[in-house]
């Protein structure tokens, strides 16, 4: 068949990701020229078996289907068109950082979170109180004060990074207050006043858990409802930590242990105060 047309092959196979003078999905032709001028064999080798090379940039797929001769034609094309071209610098910041859509509070956002399971939900209760709820384990993981999340590390690409917590984590729960070893099933959440009420099953019971903020940066309240009402007193255990005070409107709090009479377990509210 006819000699390969480097320009045409470039258009079909490369132009979607490589522009002449600026980085888009992959590096610019100007940059590629700088890397491979005089090294056509290295270029072909790379195209056939590319590797992960740059942070926050996806890995190039193999261009093996183009064939050696075709890749050499693409190489010649790139070296020619990029001659004398300088790559532009770009701003890597989040273009939607100040958008009302993402700065509105309260806010619920499912995203990969640090130190939590992959089915996490970040909740901004208000401008200064936020928490991470794990829909896989059906439990609160941690709460922080300061701000909400920076989701751009995740959103800038295809989700290969977790979101960053903005602020200071003040409270962490090592396990569900209802204990471990029971089968849990996430049922979803309802929204009221832009705040979620999580629903889940734990053992034979269905629990709803609703979070509301205390005044700025001082913690939150969580209201539980348990159905059916347990037949025996229920004990909830919390993780002791500095600067955290937990009180309950019902039952008896003994250190980090809350004991509720069956009737009290139907609905009760905890106040988690953070220093």
């Amino acid at each position: 068949m006819a000699a390969p047309d480097g320009a045409q092959l470039f258009t079909n196979n490369c132009s979607a990701c490589h522009l002449l003078d600026q980085m888009v999905v992959g590096p610019s032709l100007a940059e590629i020229r700088g890397l491979y001028l005089g090294k056509p064999d290295d270029f072909v080798k790379w195209c056939v078996a590319p590797k992960k090379k740059r942070e926050n940039v996806i890995e190039m797929p193999s261009m093996v289907h183009v064939g050696d001769e075709g890749l050499r034609a693409i190489y010649d094309h790139i070296m020619k068109v990029a001659e004398g071209v300088k790559a532009k610098k770009q701003d890597p910041g989040d273009p939607y950082k100040t958008s009302a859509t993402y700065t509105a509070r309260p806010q619920v956002q499912r995203i990969f979170m640090p130190n939590a399971g992959p089915a996490s939900i970040a909740v901004a209760l208000d401008a200064t109180n936020s928490l991470c709820w794990d829909a896989g384990e059906c439990r609160l993981r941690y709460a922080w004060t300061g701000g909400f999340i920076d989701g751009f590390p995740y959103w800038r690409g295809n989700g290969s990074s977790v979101a960053a917590v903005v602020g200071t984590v003040k409270y962490t729960e090592a396990q569900s207050p209802f204990g471990t070893g029971k089968e849990v099933k996430f049922l979803g959440y309802t929204m009221k006043d832009k705040l979620p009420t999580f629903r889940y099953q734990i053992g034979a019971q269905t629990v709803t858990e609703r979070f509301t903020p205390l005044k700025e940066g001082t913690g939150f309240q969580r209201t539980f409802a348990v159905t059916p009402t347990p037949s025996a007193p229920m004990t909830l255990e919390f993780t002791a930590q500095d600067g955290v005070t937990i009180t309950s409107d019902k039952g008896k709090m003994d250190g980090t242990k809350l004991t509720l009479a069956p009737a009290d377990a139907a609905t009760f509210t905890l106040t988690i105060s953070l220093k």
């Binding site: 939607y96 958008s99 009302a100 959103w155 690409g157």
Partner: protein, 500 residues
Amino acid sequence: MKSLSLLAWLSLSLVASAWTEHFSFEEIAGPPGVDPQVGAMETLADGRLAVAFHRGEVMIYDPVAKTWTAFASGLQEPLGMLADKDGSLLVMQRAELTRLRDTDGDGSADSYETVFDDFGMSGNYHEFAYGPARDAQGNLYIVLGVASNGASMAKEIRGEFSKIGKVDFAGMSTRETWGKNRGAAGRMYARVKWRGWVLKLSPDGKTMEPFASGFRSPNGIGFDAAGRLLITDNQGDWRPTSPLYDVKKGGFYGHPASLVWTPGWDGKDPMSMPVPELDKLQQPAIGYFPQGELANSPTWPVVIPKGSFPETWTNHTLIGEMNQKNLVRVLEDKVDGTLQTALVPVFDGSPLGMGSNRLAFGKDGVLYVGKTALSWAGGKGITRIKWNGKAFLALDQIKAQKQGFALRFSQPLDAATLDKLTVSRHTYDYHQAYGAPKKDLTKLEVKNAKLSADGQTLTFEIGELKEKYLHFIDMTALRGKDGGKVLGSKAWYQVIKAPK
């Protein structure tokens, strides 16, 4: 002389030769302040368009008032959506299938009900979740992408971890030492449950049946007009080029990572199985999108409704594509009951651009194309495409014959151009390496090219068709009787079964 050249120019301008003479392409202004990468789109019963975006908003577009209203927010990478009769929306996001419901009638969802989340998540970015597609009985089908060795798993995963594989949990989940382990992890991996599987759910989502396996990055799932479940997948490891599948219960569709979750699997590592053994297990693709030419990352299949395209297109399947600046039309054929297809570009050379991730038809027949990139090649926003109702020359049907093909066109061809038809064919190796070059590429001599009495059916011979070969029919140099070009002038026909 002057009047003659004017006449020549006039007649030339009447000849249809570009998509833009028949379709308008218009960018819709997106909702302000929202990252306009589209993950899912669905036309509602009232004609409004529901659109799910990359950062998790579901917004409703009113095509008459040209306004957006917020319906839901905070979802993670929604990649599929279905409207239900009761007004609720089913949305597939990374972690679950969710039903969004507006229970208080204020126009936005206040119930985010988990319909189904009984599948694993390793925390790897490539575990996208797609669907649902709904069959005639109301059952829902979702399909789960596998993880990429571009990254490790997370320290915490959801669900069971499969011990089958060369790297253990600690090695798979340690980001810091991933460089050491990624080579042995498999290019794509499925160490948590149901990755690479199609799952069939009861209409309420309460019961699940593992339906079919072998998928890699199946960013397109839908039923065609004949009720077949079509799934597209992306070129990569075990995918020489992007395939189109007609998915049947119990089928294995080529990517081995998912096999470890086969009920009753005997524990062997599919990555160590001999390729011929895997090849024997797999179901054939009903079509192939040649990489770099037709599609690199095909997307969602939709059924063309009446009025959006010429009548001969009605009920055909139309598929989106991320990298090439075209959509793809599916022309189906049957040989001895075996379904096989030719894939044909649509809107190539038009202003469509890249990134066509989701397709939806408005009640008025307008086609909406929602675009995304997710840091790969692609686009953003929504393009509205409207046909002006005028006929044009295109390929409408293709039929494999003993010695060649019969092609049915929408308008008569110019017999004088038939000698310019070219045909070639090639095949691909099925292997673990990422993609594959064309193998055994052969140019075929075209003989006995003939037109039917009405000039619309072209038959030609190339000798016997070859099974497992992709036959490329290039109609670019053909002309209609009026001198116009064929719109969508290339067809790639995958022969599974050759007529005997």
